[in-house]
Symmetry: C2
Subunit: 198 residues, 2 copies
């Protein structure tokens, strides 16, 4: 908008490029930054640049890390024979928050999607195959239960089975606390198919 | 979260301090920045610092500006005898977008709120009073129709009336396209009180 100063417009533009930030939010965020103490703004900017500069992918599981290996892969208390495969770091974070999973992870950074032209070579599968040379007892596929996630799960399972390593898939079904009448048909059918004996 | 690297955690923290950004959004934004090309991140950071450093308040209307005066106050085609008082720059932007208002503005940067301890001296009223020494034909009060906005409007009207300048308040009522049954009682009563003859 012409009515803002050039500096503010540029800043609004930058915020608007971030995911999930519309033009109104970008405006609010930019005006908030303008009203922050200058030293806080400089600190924010520095942290942003530093984070981008100093980040690496963990050499084992491909998650983001400050050092060569991430804290999970570097932790001898974790079960390094069990690998959970996730699409991205937020999914890893979600499982890590449960505090119950003791194995390690492998982050694919995406999922196979013929629609978007993302093939097996575009996600971190080579790195996964290399890890199977070590002593691995189980690979748990925890990709999303979307079309892409399921395609990726199928692909990986076919890839790993010949090696003799046990491959499992996390259960799909009714969310805990979910009200049956509010749940879509696909999920209800999945829950039925996946029923277990009590 | 411990599972992220220190650099990412710091960046998430920074984003989470912004208004309307929850912890999940902050995580998403930080991970997005991490995946941006480094030169884009540096550009974003630089724009942020520059904007904060180079911004001034317009010497006339107190809005944010690159120069001593904002583009609106510097525009000789605007009607400089009509001043619209708004609480903040976003409100100014909203009226400016209508493209129909030809006068100038005065940005208070807040509203009087005894609850929050914001008094008349905490908003840009001194600057407003000074402007009344010039040839002003009308002051339109466009503060929000909230408790704070109304309090501020009342205060300003009492402040200006003795000077003989015409003071008006924007109308409060049913929004255009609004469905009567969905509108709160206060608004309905306001609309009734403010009815005009056809």
């Amino acid at each position: 908008m012409e009515l803002y100063s050039g500096h503010i417009n540029k800043l609004i533009e930058q915020f608007a490029k971030l995911p999930g930030v519309g033009s109104k939010s970008a405006q609010r965020l930019a005006l908030h930054v303008i009203n922050m103490p200058p030293e806080h703004v400089e600190r924010f900017a520095q942290i942003m640049v530093d984070a981008r500069k100093n980040i690496h992918y963990c050499k084992t599981c491909c998650t983001l890390a400050d050092k060569e290996f991430c804290p999970i892969c570097a932790n001898p208390k974790r079960d390094h024979t069990t690998i959970m495969i996730v699409e991205n770091i937020r999914d890893l974070a979600a499982y890590e928050k449960t505090g119950k999973y003791e194995g390690v992870y492998h982050v694919l950074h995406g999922a196979i999607s013929p629609m978007l032209g993302i093939g097996p070579n575009d996600i971190r599968l080579k790195e996964l195959v290399k890890r199977l040379e070590d002593d691995i007892s189980e690979v748990i596929i925890a990709t999303n239960s979307s079309l892409e996630g399921e395609t990726t799960a199928m692909y990986i399972s076919k890839l790993i089975k010949p090696t003799g390593v046990k491959v499992t898939r996390i259960a799909s079904g009714v969310p805990v606390g979910g009200d049956l009448e509010c749940i879509d048909e696909m999920t209800l059918l999945r829950a039925l198919e996946g029923r277990t004996e009590l």
